[in-house]
Subunit: 360 residues, 2 copies
């Protein structure tokens, strides 16, 4: 199989494969990307075992061993990562093993983090099976688990050896999970690719019907946006921060609602609406452009947040990694395809943004 | 204060300060190495709080906040690292904070690992207070915790911003802990500096009496040996593997005796005696050189292992990271100051080495 592209980060370069049926090629891809002598261990969840885990394991000769971890945002913890480490040890994984992580963002982040600390780090290959993981979390090398005090507070940078996104995996994805990825793709369009935004705007029905050609285009363009950004800025300088558009208030909403009732992508959708309101108020973004973005988000019908408590959102944001050193940083759009890092956000602006979500 | 030297690893360069009274200069050193705007958090144990933790915290203006973690090899776990992360969050640490880790190898490894995964890694400064930590564990960027299945199985590479070794801290070190460091220094001499080995051989009494000039020389020469090695090979190629001289069978002895009854350095001392026996048997090392090394180790009187169970040692070694990919790798000396990586060690040789320890 030919990679769609290579992402060249500072610490490592890796190929990204995006194709229908790509899962059947994982064995061959891993052998050429990580080395044929490396022993593969597929890490997935019980739910994903039959549809994806076993086919991936069977693509190796001999078949890869399979390690199961728990799934769900509530299990995205250090305990689950530790259980993955123990399971890897018990399955016989060693320093020259490669972890082939099959699943959505939670599994990729948790098992990827486990791979990053297992024997101080073993090779990692992501096989993202959700749209969110394909367009966002499998790219860039960030892995992490949650802490009771906030999301992704414990983690590391551990670039994969390869990413293999099978578009066919999206056919059976629950609708809300599909939408979760759509909002991240829409975000990528606004920060760096107007054509991608237009795709989510104009091909909405085709996306919801999961037309493979359209989904493949969405994944490719999203990977391009994120790939360019993480190539320019592996860690967390201003360039990479652009990816946080919609995430500052979005994370606050997620935390204030205890990560229940809405997907990550939906929270990002609301967070973008909040950011747009602030950008308009600052005079950075024309009102009609904000309305166009907001309407496109709303057309995908994100679950409305249950009666947002403004103070709870603000409190939850206090722990946010992005509010570094006491400066309140947010990403605000100037146009579709152009965002900017702003580091002097006032409390009153945050309140205004949160209220814009409630008013919607 | 002027650094003794700079260690230039692939991922980062950092100064190493080695001096009497260096602890009082930590605040100034951290400001220039990590940036004056970074907020410092001293991580240490309750036992080390008064003698070292508070003086280090007081060297900052305003004084650094202090976070306490549990100590002891049995607490060198993911749970203790997780508790350190929680304590850092509660103390208000953020992405631009710097963790100033004050203590011996266990604290440096555990709190250093916590710093490496806290918000995907914050700045780290090591203030090693034991000879073992000064000559070995604070240098090179490896941090890790133990797993029930073996030592240091969970960890990462996280180079410090600076290392500050205060020779005065060694004055009150319990004798067995001093010796633990002596054996690692002796090891460094054999792998890379005959003068360092001779120092441990000829200045034994001065070392045991803790003559500061001699201890400083031991620390400096040990840091030179390890610094050269980790500069040439940050991860785990053949060069860095040289540091494992004495550690293969040493780790097996530690695990088989459940990390009780002897220090890490003592286990390494016995491990070197085992390795020497194997090297002589292979014709790599002249018998009189082996005797000279063995005698020098024995002169420091390492606690004899309690009736070693040969099978238990071998079983414990099966999980060793260094026995990668089924190949049994050991470091064997050819001369004082010259060691070699050997990757075809036979079971019978391991048994012979273990028996040499028992016979001693």
């Amino acid at each position: 199989m030919t990679p769609y592209r290579t992402i060249a980060q500072q610490s490592a370069s890796y190929p990204v494969f995006i194709a229908r049926g790509a899962i059947d090629g994982v064995g061959g891809i891993v052998s050429s990307a990580a080395g044929a002598r490396k022993r593969p261990f597929v890490i997935t969840s019980a739910n994903l075992l039959e549809p994806f885990g076993r086919p991936v394991a069977a693509s190796f000769d001999p078949p890869a061993r399979i390690v199961l971890i728990e799934e769900g945002e509530r299990r995205k913890t250090l305990e689950t990562a530790a259980a993955a480490v123990t399971a890897l040890l018990e399955a016989g994984a060693q320093r020259d093993s490669v972890a082939v992580v099959v699943g959505g963002g939670m599994i990729g982040d948790t098992a990827g983090f486990a791979a990053s600390i297992f024997l101080r780090g073993i090779d990692l290959v992501h096989v993202p099976t959700t749209l969110l993981a394909q367009v966002d979390s499998s790219i860039g090398g960030k892995v992490a688990v949650n802490h009771p005090a906030g999301k992704n507070l414990v983690g590391s940078f551990h670039a994969p050896r390869a990413v293999v996104a099978d578009i066919d995996a999206l056919a059976t994805l629950p609708e809300r999970e599909l939408l979760s990825g759509v909002f991240e793709a829409l975000k990528s369009g606004i920060i760096g690719d107007p054509a991608l935004f237009e795709l989510t705007e104009q091909r909405r029905a085709a996306i919801l019907e999961r037309l493979p050609e359209v989904l493949e285009e969405v994944v490719r363009r999203s990977v391009d946006v994120k790939g360019e950004i993480v190539s320019a800025d592996e860690r967390e300088g201003d360039v990479r921060r652009l990816l946080n558009y919609g995430h500052t208030i979005g994370h606050g909403i997620e935390a204030a609602t205890h990560y229940e009732g809405m997907t990550h992508g939906e929270a990002v959708g609301w967070g973008m609406i909040a950011a747009n309101a602030i950008a308009v108020r600052r005079g950075m973004l024309p009102g009609h452009v904000a309305r166009r973005i907001d309407d496109s988000i709303a057309a995908f019908r994100p679950t409305p947040p249950p009666s947002l408590d403004r103070e709870a959102v603000l409190r939850a944001m206090a722990h946010d990694k992005k509010f570094s050193g006491g400066r309140r940083v947010m990403i605000l759009p100037r146009a579709i395809g152009l965002c900017e890092v702003v580091d002097d956000i006032e409390s009153a602006e945050l309140e205004y943004g949160i209220d814009a979500v409630t008013a919607r």
